[in-house]
Amino acid sequence: MIETVTSFSEIIEARSGEPVRTCYFCQKCTAGCPVVHAMDYQPAQVVRLILLGRKDTLLRSTAPWLCVSCETCGTRCPNGIRLAPVMDVLKEMALQEGVAPAEKKVYALHQSFIDSIRLWGRVHELSMLMEYKLRAIDIFTDIGMGLQLIIKGKIPVLPERIKNLEQVKALYRRTGR
């Protein structure tokens, strides 16, 4: 069944700022997507499902979580639809409505990244990855390469705070985190 078709696409348009209703399904976004092979719904299908009002399907889809925001789709779209902001809206909706993220490790990485910036004002890779490994319960993947990077000095062992950390924290407060 198609339900509240109009309202759902309107909400997505309002929240993402992207004109999804202009899509005519040329599939150029799908054609250029570097991670489409891992997605359950292709980028153009995501737009289609939005227009069909299939919110439940979308909030459980892996596509928004696997999108790497490379912006290839948005750069190439003949109707000027950037899918990265649309995918962000879908992820936000899933979290707000208590739907478990379809890709838990991706969500763990997002959280660790955000935490690292809140703490230091910039990313500190070592502590961020340690947090990620704990969150994702995945301790040993890539550990050898990580050690090599530390030995070669590519990843600093100690974190470095930025000067105006207070400004970054103010941003976090404004988003309610």
Binding site: T6, P19, R21, T22, Q45, L49
Partner: protein, 562 residues
């Protein structure tokens, strides 16, 4: 004794590369009746033509054979050349030694040369027995008949009448307007159809050169281009002469009852697009079953079109655009309603058309679903549409209040019968056939009968008006001639030999042979004769013959090749 000159063309290496042209010239020079023979690189070039004219003057030739390419290519050229030098054009003939010899016998140059000599000799024999002929002229009635009073017929009639020629406009219905008269508003600007139409109807009915016959049909047509005689069965039967005819009989929609899988003719809330136009025109969009306002409306495109298995294989061409218009018009009247359109492809070819369809999607929130509808059935007072959205790969079910079928456009009822009466050909679906799909799109295959609008194939109003204007231009082109010229190479009857058996009348495929009104002989209707020779074969008394292809002449022509 006729003095014949033979001119052998090399056509560069096209002919000379295979055929030994020098040997050909030497051989035909010796042939009886030939007083001059030569060859040249390109006979159709200016120096080549000058060479022919000089030889005609020097040798006082009264017959010319040009051995070159197909007569379809340069017969006219060389006949003109010879005429300018004083030789009757019908005493100039082409021997085709390119298409029929050099191109097909490249591997056997010797045999090709022998064949070229023989073919040229047959044409020499033909010229020996050819009679000098002149094209004859036929009178031309400068009045047009337009069949069909829709926008196509009215447009053609107005253009012809404005140019100063009388027009008889025959309309089957009581009113002018045709299908356009049944429409509400028109894409792209939602112009009101009746307003646009009314100005045309008034112009037609008030025009001093247009005679409108409503509730009338053409029952019989005789004659030929420039001299047709039409019978019309109006309020009083009526016969008149016309020189040209425009067929503008339009289209109909495929009967809904043929679309059982879509509930056509089975459920009151499944209607066709013209019924929906009627609702829009009346300003009342209501479900036929209970008179309530439909909140979920589904349009089914390609209902009977693009379906070679069950219905029509062709695209009806007009539906994509009018469905977008109808869905938008619906949303203008019912803003909180939902409009769905099931389609296979959107074909929006025309100035501003694509943008119009996009507006339906973006500004009016018409939901386009790409996929053919599988089934429409009734359930709990609603019509349920089963389809698929191939873009997401999901099956779709819509509980609709109203389903509008964009049924296939088919030829107007009776079009085939009319075509037979007019001796005009139709395609396998009954649409009138154009003479050439690209170069002669407004002419039928019958001289003097032209086509306008959806009678030829589904067309929207701009295209119809364009074609009707084109048809009018063709009629005016015909009327601009002082008289009509006809080729003289046609059949004739030797009255001494004719026994009046009538076999030739039945044999003639062009209805060019009739019995004399009182004498027991057959006569040729010269304007209709195409010179095919069927009557010559049919005649047991050898009374039928063709000018410049007489039986004795043909036998003489065969002599050299036997």
């Amino acid at each position: 004794m006729r003095k014949i000159g033979v001119f052998v063309c090399h056509c560069g290496l096209n002919i000379a590369g295979t055929v030994d042209v020098k040997r050909v010239v030497e051989a035909v020079e010796e042939y009886p009746g030939v007083v001059f023979a030569t060859d040249y690189k390109y006979m159709c070039s200016d120096p080549g033509q000058a060479l022919i004219q000089k030889a005609i003057a020097d040798h006082e030739l009264d017959g010319v054979v040009v051995a070159a390419c197909s007569p379809a290519m340069h017969e006219v050229t060389f006949r003109k050349t010879a005429r300018a030098a004083g030789v009757n054009p019908y005493l100039t003939e082409i021997a085709n030694i390119r298409e029929q010899i050099s191109w097909v016998h490249e591997a056997e140059p010797d045999a090709a040369t022998v064949k070229a000599i023989e073919i040229i000799e047959t044409i020499i024999e033909k010229v020996r027995y050819d009679e000098p002929l002149e094209p004859f002229s036929l009178p031309l009635v400068k009045r047009a008949l337009v069949i069909g009073g829709g926008i196509a017929g009215m447009t053609a009639a107005l253009h012809i009448a404005d140019a100063g020629y009388p027009v008889v406009l025959v309309e089957r219905e009581a009113q002018l307007g045709g299908k356009m008269g049944q429409l509400s508003s028109l894409y792209l600007n939602f112009d009101t159809a009746p307003d646009l139409l009314q100005s045309r109807i008034e112009a037609v009915t008030r025009h001093p050169n247009i005679q409108v016959l409503t509730e009338a049909e053409v029952t019989e047509l005789g004659g030929y281009v420039g001299n047709f005689t039409a019978k019309v069965n109006g309020s009083e039967p009526f016969t008149f002469d016309v020189g040209a005819i425009v067929v503008a009989t339009g289209f109909d929609l495929l009967p809904q009852s043929e679309l059982g899988e879509y509930g056509g003719g089975r459920y009151p809330d499944v209607i066709d697009s013209l019924q929906f136009e009627h609702m829009l025109a009346q300003g009342e969009i209501r479900r036929p079953s209970d008179g309530t306002l439909p909140k979920e409306v589904v349009w089914v495109q390609c209902a009977g079109s693009r379906d070679p298995e069950l219905h029509k294989p062709y695209c009806s061409k007009i539906c994509c655009m009018y469905v977008a218009k109808q869905a938008m018009a619906y949303k203008q009247r019912v803003p909180d309603g939902q409009a769905y359109v099931f389609y296979i492809d959107i074909r929006s070819q025309g100035k501003g058309y694509e943008e119009f369809v996009q507006r339906a999607m973006t500004e009016y929130d018409v939901l386009y679903l790409r996929g053919k509808v599988a089934r429409v059935f009734a359930e709990d007072g609603r019509v349920v549409v089963w389809g698929v959205d191939t873009l997401s790969g999901k099956a779709v079910e819509v509980q609709a209040d109203l389903v509008v079928l964009a049924t296939a456009a088919v030829p107007s009822a009776g079009a085939r019968d009319l075509a037979q009466r007019l001796r005009v050909s139709t395609d396998e679906y009954g649409f009138f056939s154009e003479a050439h799909p690209k170069l002669r799109p407004v002419e039928s295959l019958t001289a003097g009968i032209f086509l306008a609008g959806a009678a030829q194939f589904p067309k929207d109003i701009p295209e119809t008006v364009a074609q009707a204007s084109g048809a009018a231009a063709k009629v005016l082109g015909l009327f601009a001639q002082r008289e009509m010229v006809q080729e003289p190479t046609i059949a004739f009857v030797d009255e001494e030999l004719c026994a009046g058996c009538g076999l030739c009348v039945a044999a003639c495929p062009y209805e060019a042979r009739v019995m004399h009104p009182w004498k027991p002989i057959a006569v040729v209707q010269t304007a209709l004769c195409q010179g095919c020779g069927a009557c010559v074969v049919a005649c047991p008394n050898k009374a039928s013959s063709l000018h410049n292809l007489a039986t004795e002449q043909l036998l003489a022509m065969m002599e050299p090749v036997l």
